[in-house]
């Protein structure tokens, strides 16, 4: 019978084209509004490292002033000092560990056809790449170097490799920058982690850096401190080494454990480390280490703002209004068919058959609504990309979202059509037949 209901529904939709398009558009608009906000929330909260997010941790230590918290209420700073970064990374208590910070400097390609440019650089340790599953197009990263070892190597983003080396395999080639000659050891493939969980200094959706260099280079060449730099000591001294020896925080510290079960062990290590440092006169506050896995860190950082949820709730309300409107339009559509329904009842259709026929029609209207909703949703997301270029890399309607849109549309249409369908299936046929 479904085939028969389908045929009847298509005929009915063809007979009342304008009304049908209006119903589907009403549903589509409500669904698009919901899906645009939901897409943003979904994409923002998407696990950036689904294979290992529960064992990759961000480390926070409370080295702040005795009488004031780094972040109220009583939270440690989000970055660590150079000393702590070096000590913890070189203690090798985790499978991988890497501290990193953002910096910048001039890149002066040897090819005269490529003008010099200011490169945004991530200074990091070699285990940054395997820890965050960074994809390589050519070559690879470098090993975590001993603390005083300086090696002038670099990894280029795909875009930078395109810009400087026209996209060829540039591994082994040299690149003058920061006043030194760096050897390219790797070129990344497309890599736009969104949210950019490992360093949200400039926001969770800031584009990735142009180049990557070993963290020791930052100290060796006294590169500027990008991202968040916070200090609480008054007299730091005015040289770079004084900054590195200070309690100023600038370095994001991440570790990857072999398994979640190793977390208590790492927490113990961290606590022991803090106690040792207390013995050296540091860490005047009560121990307050925070070690959060990636998803916990995203929640901690409130990557999805409360405004976004507010928009989503408003969009849900809008969908509700659209549903009421669609229900009213569907009711009008079915009322126009009262005499046909009455005739079908007289000819032997029971209430369930009429209900099925009407719901099949609303189902088709829902599918049309989904199509219209997807088109509106894509247009809306394009508009967001246009207005907020930082979102470009991740704002997209992927297959799961598309399926959710279709599902919500069909569910909405059935909800909107249910009461009119029940109503029409229960009409007394005698009143409409002559």
């Amino acid at each position: 019978m479904f085939h028969y209901y389908l045929k009847l529904s298509l005929k009915s939709i063809g007979r009342q084209k304008s009304l049908s398009v209006l119903i589907s558009t009403t549903l589509g608009l409500g669904i698009a509004a919901c899906m645009i906000t939901y897409s943003l929330i979904y994409l923002m909260s998407k696990d950036p490292l689904p294979n290992k997010s529960n064992r990759v941790y961000h480390v926070q230590l409370d080295n702040w002033h005795r009488n004031s918290a780094a972040i109220e209420p009583n939270l440690p700073p989000e970055e660590v000092t150079w000393r702590d970064a070096m000590n913890i990374v070189h203690a090798k208590q985790a499978k991988y560990q890497a501290a990193h910070a953002i910096t910048w400097g001039m890149v002066t390609p040897a090819n005269k056809n490529v003008p010099p440019f200011l490169g945004i650089i991530r200074a990091t340790q070699g285990e940054f790449f395997p820890m965050f599953d960074v994809p390589f197009l050519y070559g690879q990263g470098w090993q975590n170097h001993p603390i005083n070892h300086v090696e002038y190597v670099t990894v280029l983003s795909k875009e930078t490799n395109q810009r400087v080396f026209a996209g060829i395999n540039s591994v082994g080639k040299t690149l003058p920058m920061l006043g030194k000659l760096f050897t390219v050891v790797g070129v990344l493939d497309e890599w736009h982690p969104s949210p950019k969980f490992f360093d949200m200094s400039f926001g969770a959706f800031y584009p990735p850096e142009d180049l990557y260099v070993p963290l020791q280079i930052k100290a060796e060449l006294e590169l500027p401190h990008g991202g968040h730099t916070h200090c609480w000591e008054k007299d730091l001294g005015d040289n770079y080494q004084a900054f590195l020896n200070s309690e100023c925080v600038n370095f994001n510290l991440w570790i990857e454990l072999a398994s979640q079960q190793n977390k208590p062990q790492f927490d113990n290590y961290l606590q022991t480390y803090v106690e040792q440092q207390k013995g050296l006169g540091r860490f005047p506050r009560v121990s307050n280490n925070i070690v959060l896995n990636i998803n916990q860190w995203l929640v901690y950082k409130k990557v999805i703002s409360s405004d976004m949820y507010l928009f989503f709730y408003l969009a849900l309300l809008f969908l509700l209004v659209c549903l009421f409107n669609a229900a009213s339009l569907i009711s009008t559509k079915f009322t126009a068919k009262n005499s046909e329904i009455a005739l079908r009842r007289a000819l032997g259709a029971n209430q369930l058959a009429i209900l099925s026929q009407c719901l099949t029609e609303t189902l088709i209207l829902g599918c049309l609504g989904a199509l219209i909703g997807i088109i509106f949703c894509l247009m809306g997301l394009e508009g967001i990309k246009y207005l907020y270029p930082n979102f470009s890399a991740f704002v997209t309607l992927d297959m799961p979202l598309m399926l959710i849109t279709v599902g919500i549309s069909i569910l909405s249409s059935v909800l909107a059509g249910l009461i009119p369908s029940i109503k029409v299936s229960m009409l007394a046929p005698a009143g409409y037949l002559k």
Partner: protein, 235 residues
């Protein structure tokens, strides 16, 4: 076959209570051709709707083919209607955007026949009413008489025991009305019981049996020669 005993039907609104049928008693045997006449508002159509299981009633008993239908649920009533009753309406009630084939197909779909069986029955019933060549036409392409023939074909396709006709010739000119009446008589002659509500005394006189309804009751029954019944002459 069709037996109504003391059937009552009351329509109620907030202000008014209308007794459409009061202690309505009627027995229609197999193969009968009954014409139901009576003034407007006498309860003829209400009787037909109840007989066709399109309406419920408030009291009394109604047996259709030996089965008490008083307490049947919607599914059973619809099934009974589909299998045992065919309807013919004054305004034909064809679905305008379905062709003749699909119009006749409607009751068969709800019967659950397979497509070959449905095709056979549709073609045969359209053949019977002389419209087999036009089964792909839309109702709007036919005359009134032809449309009523399609409605009859639709009613017959399911091979019902009863044919309930409400003013079947009310919208037709005399010539077409006679042709439809001839068709009904031949259907009756083939064994189908027909109950026909009409205002037309001439048509009623062609039925085997006449009943006259007044104020919701069967007030007169003429089983022999309807043409001589005094009330019919006045209709």
């Amino acid at each position: 076959m069709l037996k109504m005993t003391d059937v009552k039907k009351v329509f109620r609104t907030d202000l008014v209570e209308t007794h459409a049928l009061r202690d309505f008693n009627l027995h229609v045997g197999e193969g009968d051709f009954v014409a139901v006449t009576g003034p407007s508002g006498s309860g003829k159509t209400t009787f037909l709707n109840i007989a066709g299981l399109l309406e419920t009633f408030n009291g009394g008993t109604y047996e259709l083919d030996g089965q008490d239908v008083s307490n049947l649920n919607d599914k059973k009533r619809s099934q009974l209607r589909n299998e045992k009753i065919g309807f013919i309406f004054q305004s034909f009630n064809l679905i305008p955007d379905l062709n003749l084939f699909d119009n006749v197909d409607v009751p068969l779909r709800y019967r659950g026949f397979n497509s070959a069986e449905r095709k056979k029955r549709i073609e045969s019933s359209l053949e019977m009413v002389g419209l087999a060549q036009r089964m792909k036409h839309l109702p709007s392409q036919l005359s009134g008489g032809q449309q009523q023939r399609v409605a009859i074909a639709r009613a017959l396709a399911g091979e019902p025991r009863f044919l309930l006709a409400d003013e079947p010739t009310g919208n037709l000119d005399t010539q077409m009305a006679n042709s439809v009446m001839d068709l009904l008589k031949s259907i009756n002659a083939a064994g189908t019981t027909i109950i026909m509500v009409t205002h037309d005394g001439q048509l009623a006189s062609q039925a085997r049996r006449n009943i006259y309804v007044r104020d919701g009751k069967v007030s007169e029954v003429n089983d022999t020669d309807a043409a001589t019944a005094p009330h019919l002459a006045a209709v």
